[in-house]
């Protein structure tokens, strides 16, 4: 089984557009949306949910106001500034990281742990196959753990179906959800754009995949917006011995397809042709 993750470092370079296009091209696969923070792939793939589960992870502190004598020991012990004393101790749940130190230190046992219900994940069907997707609740912090759960579930689905591929829409950045989504993948496809920010961020995400020894290849989206910086990206790819799989032209049909809630692969357009060519090369890259 081959696992492809689409990443970018910088947000808004076109990850989800390309995943939706590959979804239409790739046979025999299961998909996952690992951008659990601001997931968008469902807007294009219109998943029909088969099953939904709550995501429970870690704990939050909870104060029994009758038992609290407002001594302030918890306030001093909390390193996350999650406690204030207003008549009794009060927990700022958005700041609480669930370390439990306040529970331990409270002399009147007024603080206890409550299970943290912080998101939902789903197994759904789309016209391009099955997908596992999730939504972390607003302001929560366990995105890496939810991503790991999504990945575990998508692998289960893929094994059950004896699928040939897993296709993953990755989160932006290089932090915890990205690290969680990279783990155990076969190949990362970096989507970049010909801007100074795009190139800068590409270098950082490439550094991250190198850190975890995951091979990567690159495609440049809207390459004709700035041919000079596209050229710099090509040079950088050559220097890094990174496989540049293709360049996608700026194509107004891309936004139109998004607005229509469709994969760009369903249109006859320059961007769609370029992504088909990238898919051909990806198959070769998997063989290497």
């Amino acid at each position: 089984m081959k696992e492809l993750i689409v990443l970018s470092g910088k947000g808004g370079t076109g990850k989800t557009t390309i995943v939706a296009a590959l979804a239409a091209l790739m046979p025999d696969k299961v998909m996952a949306d690992c951008d659990v923070d601001a997931a968008d792939l469902h807007l294009v793939l219109n998943p029909q949910i088969r099953e939904s589960h709550r995501f429970l992870s870690g704990i939050k502190a909870k104060v029994d106001e009758d038992a609290c004598n407002s001594c302030g020991k918890c306030l001093k012990a909390c390193h996350f500034k999650a406690i204030r004393i207003k008549r009794t101790a009060r927990i700022d749940e958005l700041a609480c990281e669930g370390c439990g130190v306040c529970i331990h230190i409270c002399p009147t046992k007024a603080i206890s742990a409550k299970e943290n219900d912080c998101g939902a994940w789903h197994i759904s069907d789309t016209s391009y196959g099955r997908i596992v997707h999730a939504q972390l609740d607003i302001g929560e912090e366990n995105s890496g753990k939810l991503v790991s759960l999504v990945k575990m579930q998508v692998r289960k689905q893929a094994e059950a179906q004896k699928a040939r591929y897993i296709l993953i829409d990755g989160p932006p950045g290089i932090g915890c959800p990205v690290i969680a989504s990279l783990s155990g993948t076969t190949l990362a496809l970096m989507v970049t754009e010909p801007t100074m920010s795009g190139l800068h961020d590409l270098k950082r995400i490439a550094g991250l995949t190198a850190h975890f020894k995951i091979p990567f290849c690159v495609c440049i989206n809207k390459y004709d917006l700035n041919p000079e910086i596209s050229g710099q990206i090509e040079t950088w790819c050559r220097e890094q011995h990174a496989n540049l799989l293709g360049k996608i032209p700026f194509d107004p049909l891309v936004v139109e397809s998004l607005v229509a809630g469709k994969s760009i692969s369903e249109y006859d357009s320059p961007a769609s042709d370029a992504i088909s060519a990238i898919w051909q090369k990806l198959q070769l890259a998997f063989k290497e």
Partner: protein, 275 residues
């Protein structure tokens, strides 16, 4: 006064708005790049006199001469960063949240302060814009500690403009919490609207004042404009889609340098959000 620039979706133009506001503001002004996973402000301002400082968080280091392997540190650690088996003890510094629980419970003072490098904070200046930016170490999973260290450097003496990371989870909270006003930058597409709704919910949960700026107005389906009208959330500014602006951005040129006709609009935006 602190103004944060955030968005649910990435790549909508947070940095573009932050740079434009810093350029039109009365000087001195401070620009804080809190998008520490992918900081980009320096590409547009090219500050000089950059000074960098490596930042660390505290993690446990075991003094084996004092440790009696009682396991109390392991038991209190909610993040599985310490494991004890027989007469062996191991720490996993990359999992540690620096809650200091293990220091608190160790009966033998066997835990010493070790450190984990989380990234770098760079300070610079250009034309009376003081720049502060965080760069997360590649391979470091947790960005909030570095963002919090940056935010602790907010000065009351001058206006601080904060470029926040994308999303709606803990890094965004670390960057925007306590700001006097947050500008949510979006584009008027189904993705932009979906993620804007999430970001607006986060702002309501935090109890923060916020308003909306549409970037690349003219492409998409007008859904954000419609949603603002329905909900009553203030639509503060629409920046038109213009190839000239996209090209300037791509070359690391602030858009108001390429299109000075936008300067009055950004001045009005700044006035409105700092009132």
């Amino acid at each position: 006064m602190q103004i944060a620039i955030a968005s649910g979706k990435g790549g909508t133009g947070k940095t573009t708005v932050a740079i434009s506001l810093a350029l039109v503001a009365d000087k001195p002004v401070r620009l804080m790049d809190c998008d520490v996973e992918e900081p980009n402000c320096h590409l547009f301002l090219r500050p000089d006199h950059m000074e960098s400082q490596t930042m660390y968080v505290t993690v446990p280091e075991i003094d084996l001469a004092k440790c009696d392997f009682c396991g109390k540190c392991r038991d209190i650690c909610a993040f599985k960063a310490i494991s004890v088996f027989g007469k062996n003890i191991m720490t996993f510094p990359e999992l540690c949240h620096s809650c200091m629980g293990c220091f608190l419970v160790c009966p033998n003072e066997a835990i010493k302060e070790g450190k984990r490098e989380i990234g770098v904070i760079s300070q610079g200046s250009i034309n009376e814009i003081e720049t502060l930016s965080g760069t997360l170490r590649v391979g470091e999973a947790m960005s909030p500690p570095l963002i919090k260290k940056l935010r602790d450097m907010t000065s009351d003496a001058m206006l601080t403009i904060i470029d926040a990371p994308p999303g709606t989870s803990c890094p965004v909270i670390a960057a925007t919490k306590g700001a006097d006003f947050t500008i949510l930058v979006t584009e008027s597409t189904p993705f932009g609207l979906n993620d804007l709704k999430l970001a607006a919910k986060l702002m309501e949960k935090l109890g923060q004042k916020f308003g909306i700026v549409i970037n690349k107005a003219g492409i998409g389906d007008g859904s954000v404009e419609k949603w603002c009208a329905e909900t009553g959330y203030p639509l503060l500014l629409s920046i038109p889609f213009d190839r000239k602006l996209a090209e300037a951005y791509s070359n690391g040129i602030p858009i108001i340098k390429a299109a000075p006709e936008l300067i009055p609009a950004f001045k009005r935006l700044l006035e409105e959000v700092t009132q």
